[in-house]
Symmetry: C2
Subunit: 319 residues, 2 copies
């Protein structure tokens, strides 16, 4: 057995795998699109394929890994390896024994964690957060997720801590994809931003963003579509990103007023892409609401980029 | 030296003291009004008098106490015993060596803590929170303060954690006494509620609450004035309390979505008085915003009532 570990980041769009050594270096990686039809067993098979590919690239057999960690959406039970209610994955409304299935297929131990929490820990141990003892990870993507590290340890609450995307930033405000009103995610999540762009267009607002989407062969507004529309200075795109940034700053400040962490790390698809560019505006918005405005936390962009989730998953074997 | 400890809760209105034994029982107590003029030295003298009175009631000399803890507003430095920027106390905008002053006067060791945090710990160890390992204390009074216990230990952040009153529940919303916009305290803090009542009356809204205030010889809307106005079914009073309760439910749910604690304990002047009566409405409002609406935290009213702060302060000697 080697001291290498596998990590799998199971996302709604892609499955990213990595083989990571004890020092956190990535020796091999692979990325497959997440199946959009079928069910949990098909998703598990794609995960297996992607992990085998990364292992081959690293020159190791899956069975020789110390173990494989998975960062999973939905309700991921670390004890049993069962994942339930992962609604952004095909046919995964119920429960599926993901840990057991992958462990049998790969011939090594598999541990399951929460996708956002493992990505936060990766940044805490190896990335932007490594000089701090407490941090809030904010994952700005399709939704807005959050992970918390306090005093060097993950804070999971009763299992569901960190839902910064569902903190209320505007009572009676916009409808969130979760069905509630006024959540941060209702303003800053990519899915909510796309829905708002469609509503604006339907109302007659001119925008190039959907043409850009089609030209790039996408059926929804991915991070790269937003990026290109910004580059073409599409006014609706600019205004929706500015709005997201305002609410992100407000929501992060609100969380910091409660937790008073040393650092905030912004990751996720939009965060990695736009974090650097908008950091100053996010900080300015935070400044309007921070209780200790002259003592803000350090705001940093995730350093591990797209690989953070897979690296963090591998750290499930480094505790 | 006995195993008895003193506790002093230093509030803007009153100074409450208690002599507490190792089991958390109160053997003597005293309450003095907080001086409204003079400076920190005058406040310290009143604290000394009140503590001596409680000690006499318990049949112990201050010098024989294991120590005296103080729950202080402002920026209370536990290391140095210096309290700074306690703006609700007369002439206390700067720094004052409260710990040293009291220690010399009383002839025993003095430790200084944050008022809200020590009251939260009192509820955690001896009151409504004692069967839980994590809790959020919400102190609904002149302002809205908060204290956090996670995994059995207070979470203080960089020293300022727990400011639930300054979480943003409505971006661009009402002006808060802190100067910012949309904070929970702007809707639910007694000072903000009084300011709103005065504005409504100036706009011509009829209300009995200021007459009740005068009849009771008060110059501001104390908790007991709100209570009496509610009893007389004053419509403005009812509407402002309902509004406070709605925002409290929203803000608490928002905090719980981030922290996922087991329990929420509501204390403070208004909380102790109205918590039981409005618990169901607070829970209903929380339910609209909780990410795990079918798994809410337990909502409880502080059990130690007005003495919680002084008892919690005494616990600074039980760590």
């Amino acid at each position: 057995m080697s001291d290498l570990r596998g990590g799998i980041d199971l996302g709604g769009t892609k499955i990213q795998t990595a083989i990571v050594d004890a020092g956190g270096r990535v020796l091999g990686e692979a990325r497959h699109p997440t199946p959009t039809s079928g069910g949990p067993a098909d998703v598990a098979r794609t995960m297996e394929d992607a992990l085998r590919e990364a292992a081959a690239a690293a020159g190791v057999r899956p069975g020789d890994l110390e173990g494989v960690g998975v960062g999973s959406p939905g309700d991921a039970d670390g004890e049993t390896g069962v994942v339930s209610g992962a609604r952004n994955l095909p046919g995964w409304g119920g429960s599926f024994p993901l840990g057991e299935t992958l462990s049998t297929a790969l011939g090594t131990e598999v541990r399951i964690g929460n996708d956002v929490q493992v990505a936060t820990e990766a940044e805490f141990r190896l990335g932007a957060g490594k000089s701090h003892s407490s941090l809030l990870g904010v994952f700005w993507g399709t939704g807005v997720g959050g992970g918390i590290v306090l005093d060097g340890r993950p804070w999971l609450g009763r299992g569901a801590a960190g839902e910064i995307g569902h903190m209320v930033v505007k009572r009676n405000g916009a409808r969130c994809p979760c069905g509630r009103r006024g959540c941060l995610e209702a303003y800053a999540g990519r899915a909510a931003m796309e829905a708002k762009a469609r509503r604006e267009q339907a109302k007659g607002v001119k925008t190039e963003i959907f043409k850009i989407m089609e030209k790039r062969g996408k059926d929804r507004l991915t991070s790269s579509v937003w990026e290109h529309a910004l580059r073409e200075q599409d006014p609706l795109t600019e205004s929706l990103i500015r709005r997201a940034v305002r609410y992100l700053g407000t929501g992060i400040a609100s969380a910091v007023n409660l937790l008073d962490v040393e650092a905030v790390v912004i990751g996720g698809g939009l965060g990695v892409r736009f974090g650097e560019r908008y950091a100053e505006q996010i900080e300015r918005e935070m400044g309007k609401h921070l209780f200790l405005a002259d003592h803000p936390p350090q705001l940093q962009v995730a350093e591990l980029g797209d690989l953070g989730g897979a690296i963090g998953a591998s750290l499930l074997f480094a505790r």
